[in-house]
Symmetry: C2
Subunit: 420 residues, 2 copies
């Protein structure tokens, strides 16, 4: 299957179909780029679409706002931080609406509040509860392009919230669902989703299509292009998500329910993540409740534990290894130090020089040969596998961080991902 060509479906009595386009910070970093985005939106309208554009803050605006906050507060309160950061997107939105009007496209900007994006009260990481699309629909019906400030919403009490990482993508896909859009285009500074990071593997191939499931797994294990939240919403409401570059006309990658039958038996992509640390609790008494006793306190502290391996018990004791984000290692060590005494473990060790390398693909289902190929490939490259974790459509190995790139390249060759 080639990339799904996104174009208006047969126009029915409801008028032209809706296309949501999300433009990231790089795509709107300067007034000249904002003018270019306006021309792209104009072309989509000429092609028959009603367009809703969701925009991020220009370039490094968010970083500058964070720096301002740090100059007045050592620990800026979350509610005020959200109001401050939300201005980044609220600056971009009217600028794009102006640029559109300048080239003759009627347009209106909407803040998260004006776009009806109601969220939870969890400042800095709010969840969208519901979207009231009345205003956006009314503006579209008047023939206007609608520009929505991404990354933000509002609570019942009209406080401003932000959506955390992947926020503008989430705004875009959720709006697409709420407006019953035909598709959601994510314009970013890369050309789409690749079989591996092209900076690591020069022969990495652009994937014309990938399934929600595969994209979620790839994002979870290190692929940075799309945040899993937006992909989940796309899957839930069956909104095709089209990832492409705002700097070219190339088609990019479509994330959709089914990504092409002829790739069934293939690994789809390889991802790696380097900011990972491994912790091993040594000589843990093997009795019920021990794992919960270790991982509940870590969860309470907000540490997200990833790969977990428990060795086979030997003489009533076992070793328990797990990975955490490197940024959480110091906190994890503090907690585990206290715990290992109380649960009667012999001690613990940690290793901050590991990395995760994962292969993902729906074609792996029921194909045990793929795991064997992965392990053999790494062995042939002289790369030791520290831990292994498998999901339905994913296999992850923890390896020495110094060998991450070698591992990714070897696997890319072994699974022939450079071949379409």
């Amino acid at each position: 299957m080639s990339a799904r060509t996104v174009r208006p479906a047969n126009q029915d009595s409801a008028g032209p179909r809706i296309l949501v386009q999300k433009y990231g910070g790089t795509s709107v970093a300067t007034p000249a780029r904002i003018r270019r985005v306006a021309r792209r939106i104009a072309r989509s309208r000429d092609a028959g679409w009603r367009v809703v554009a969701v925009v991020s803050a220009m370039g490094h605006t968010t970083d500058r706002l964070v720096a301002l906050a740090r100059q007045v507060s050592r620990d800026p309160p979350a509610r005020e931080m959200d109001t401050l950061l939300s201005t980044g997107e609220i600056i971009t939105a009217p600028l794009l609406a102006m640029a559109l009007q300048e080239i003759g496209v009627p347009a209106v900007s909407l803040s998260g509040l004006q776009a009806g994006i109601r969220t939870s009260r969890s400042h800095t990481r709010a969840r969208i509860l519901e979207i009231d699309p009345t205003r956006a629909n009314a503006e579209l019906a008047e023939g206007r392009a609608v520009v929505v400030a991404g990354f933000q919403g509002f609570t019942e009490s009209h406080d401003v919230t932000t959506l955390g990482r992947g926020g503008s993508d989430t705004t875009a896909v959720a709006l697409a669902a709420s407006l019953e859009a035909e598709s959601c285009e994510i314009y970013t500074d890369v050309r789409g989703i690749f079989t591996a990071d092209p900076r690591v593997v020069p022969e990495a191939r652009l994937l014309p299509a990938i399934s929600y499931e595969e994209m979620l797994e790839l994002a979870a294990v290190g692929a940075k292009v799309m945040h899993p939240r937006a992909v989940e919403i796309g899957e839930l409401y069956d909104i095709p998500i089209h990832v492409r570059s705002s700097f070219t006309e190339a088609p990019g990658t479509v994330i959709t329910r089914s990504a092409g039958v002829e790739d069934r038996n293939r690994v789809r992509g390889i991802a790696s993540e380097e900011d990972v640390a491994k912790v091993t609790v040594v000589g843990v008494p093997d009795r019920p409740g021990i794992a919960a006793g270790i991982f509940s306190p870590l969860a309470d502290a907000g540490v997200s534990v990833d790969v977990i391996i428990q060795n086979v018990s030997r003489e009533g004791v076992t070793d328990l290894s797990f990975t955490v984000p490197q940024a959480d290692l110091a906190q994890t060590e503090r907690i585990v130090r206290e715990l290992s005494a109380s649960i009667g473990a012999q001690g613990f060790s940690s290793d901050a020089s590991v990395a995760k390398v994962s292969i993902v693909g729906t074609g792996m289902l029921g194909q045990p040969g793929i795991a064997a190929t992965m392990f053999q490939t790494l062995a042939d490259a002289g790369i030791n596998i520290d831990m292994i974790s498998t999901g339905e459509i994913r296999i992850t190995c923890i390896v020495d961080r110094a060998r991450t790139r070698d591992a990714v390249r070897a696997l890319h060759r072994a699974f022939q991902l450079d071949v379409a």
Copy 2:
């Protein structure tokens, strides 16, 4: 009368009284200045006040936003411009709330919408229609300092508006009225209201008090410290407006209903304005409706005509002179050129090198000697008076612009304004 000392009145069962403080762009230009403003607010709270702070955009933020708009649009649409510019104040407000919390003062920021400031739909120059103080009162009752983004409000359809020139001052005084505050302090980069511009008259004296009426007249004829809109609201709701510097502890000037009996027979202040042009329509047939025939089209074009003089008619024709802002001269000339033919005038002339010099004071009421002193003083200084216009508490002379400063200095001496 000395400056009214602003302090909480006897505390009644309703708890401490409310003080509204407005901090202009210079006072919040940097994070360090925002921290200083936070400390000043903390001191006001220590003195027993509930504080509502209204803030402007930091330093040159608004200019930078305008420059961004000009890079995407030759003529930025007003609605989008308002949304864009409103972010300047929405950045300052949470930063100040953060700085307050950092020094232990509970605080919350509110946008114009969150503060319930509903306005007309006239973008870029909206008028406040009503303020719903529910949220601000609730936050004050919880013991929080409330920081409101100035200069902005919202329409019934939740669109963002800005209030135009003097906007943040207007927000502050209107909020003070709506919250039944004891007083409104306007913190600015000057020490208060002076008898004349201290850059022109070094011996100009700070006025400890001035009446709303006098302040309105001074502002109308060139004093830039306070915009007339805010003063009008203060007068309407009897809110004392306290103009002072955020860089000193000096008491500044209180604008209030009655500004001290012992200054009754005095000129209060002198103002001048240099961006003025004079237009004379020559040989106008002296018949009813002629003045309306000239000034209605100018009003329709948005030209604000100021001083108007019609000479005594001679042989059925007269000359009609008036002043306009210099920026409007070209447009005025276009309109008058068409008009003078249609009304049968002989022609018109214009002079873009004049200035307005005014003396203001309630003490002038029924004191004809003051006008005589003004004219004699200018004559003694060899300054020719081009036109004269008088109000109840104001006399304005149009003079050669090159002599503006000489005129102001001579009048300051003649009326002994340097003497308290």
